[in-house]
Amino acid sequence: MFPALLLVCVIVHQMNAPFSRLPGGLEPDLALIVAVYGGFTYARGAATALGFGAGLLQETLAGGLIGVDALSKGLTGLLWARLWRQVMGEGALVQVPLLAMLSVVDGVASFATAKLFSAPSASWGMFLPLLGWQLLSNLLLGPLLLGGVAAVHRKLSRGTRARWGGHEPTVTLQPK
């Protein structure tokens, strides 16, 4: 159930831009954060599907090419988040470099494909400020959101566990 809730959150976030109403106007990439969390928490298949679903919903609602973000976020769930967790651990702040790397990779992939297929006159000079803004948003709000998602998951799982005898997520994403 929790992955479905995460996907609903991606839809709501995508269509309402809630964080940009706050002072500063930062808007993190929630689909990326969901993909990273999926990679940390779920088995390979589920994590890939969650990342793919989040990316697919994001680009379907954003109205660009469909498939690019789905692929990059699916790979995040399948590969990058898992590798990072094995090498670096699972503290919330340790995820900052991972989020930075994935923000750049995602941004470059989206922009390059859009430039190739739908906006040939768009310049890389125009892209860099947008990338900077996305990077700043993800780095400042990403760890908080990751920690928040983990906390909500734990809270919900405790309730479910009490009722159904399920298991609790092992990932805490607490600062060490």
Partner: protein, 298 residues
């Protein structure tokens, strides 16, 4: 308290020692996945994603249908969120935001007097224009039919500038139609589901609008730069353009009618190329858009 090696919480004064039958069944440990499982997942992911990209580029029907389904499914959710947000916003606007209303009222009354006077002058000019047009036997220009819609959402992606409006194909809204407000040009519809449509703003980096500098009639293309900023492209060095010049749509390309206000020139930079870099401030603050008009083709 520890019983048989397990921590047991004491919830009441009388409690029962847990037995094997009462403890929830533990899931068996997961078997490690075979190394090729990851490769299989990767291949499936790559094939599905690349198929979607190809279908989208080629404009295949399943992708458009999928987009419509996603938009239609999200519509009730979006309406609920909009309803809650409007309620919260209403409380703010009706009670807390009324502090400066008196000064604002006086200022607006002055502005109305000025606008009435200006309107009268424009009316005279328009009547004169109509008379001259009849004299010259021109075909009378018919304004396009308009569909009033409400903005129900705004895309959170930093790369794209998209808004969602609550009218779709059922109301005659279709792909490629121009969207405007009384302040100027908003953008164009890029996808229409039956009851919800996506509108790409003129500040989206994929958008391009053929434009004229109103004062000098010099033409260029207004392209988006994201984050409420646009630029005028392909304006040769030496063209007469100044900060504050108003830009209007030229009507070329067939999407946007001629004469819609796009914005004004904010700054000009020479970069050593044959074209100038002209920064454009759109006439509309897109973050505050609430209602828009879709120009439906007759």
């Amino acid at each position: 308290m520890r019983v048989r090696g397990h921590l047991v919480h004491q919830r009441s004064h009388t409690w029962i020692e847990p037995t094997a039958a009462m403890t929830p069944p533990r899931k068996p440990p997961r078997r490690p996945l075979a190394p090729w499982t990851g490769i299989v997942y990767f291949l499936i992911l790559a094939v599905v994603s690349l198929t979607l990209v190809t279908w989208k580029v080629k404009g295949r029907a399943p992708v458009a249908a999928f987009e419509s389904v996603v938009l239609s499914v999200t519509l009730p959710l979006q309406h609920s969120i909009r309803w809650v947000m409007r309620g919260v916003g209403g409380v703010w606007e009706r009670y807390i935001g009324l502090v400066h209303v008196r000064q604002q009222n006086l200022r607006m009354q002055e502005e109305i007097k000025w606008l009435r006077e200006e309107n009268n002058r424009f009316l005279e000019a328009y009547l004169q224009y109509q008379r001259l047009q009849r004299l010259l036997n021109f075909k009378e220009w018919l304004p396009p039919e308009m569909v009033a819609t409400e903005v129900v959402g705004r895309d959170s992606n930093n790369w794209t500038e998209i808004i969602y409006i609550n009218k779709g194909t059922r109301d005659g809204v279709g792909k490629g139609l121009a969207v405007v407000t009384h302040e100027g040009l908003v953008g164009q519809v890029i996808h229409a589901a039956p009851m919800l449509s996506k509108v790409m703003l003129i500040t989206d980096f994929r958008s391009g609008v053929d434009a004229l500098v109103q004062r000098t009639r010099t033409s260029g293309v207004v392209a988006g730069r994201g984050r409420n900023v646009a630029e005028l492209k392909f304006l040769p060095v030496g063209s007469d353009v100044q900060p504050g010049d108003r830009l209007i749509s030229s009507g070329m390309g067939g999407v946007f009618p001629k004469g819609l206000i796009i914005g004004e020139v904010k700054g000009i930079h020479l970069n050593g190329n044959q074209f100038q870099d002209v920064e454009v401030k759109p006439s509309i603050d897109f973050s505050r858009l609430e209602e828009v008009l879709v120009l439906v083709k007759r």
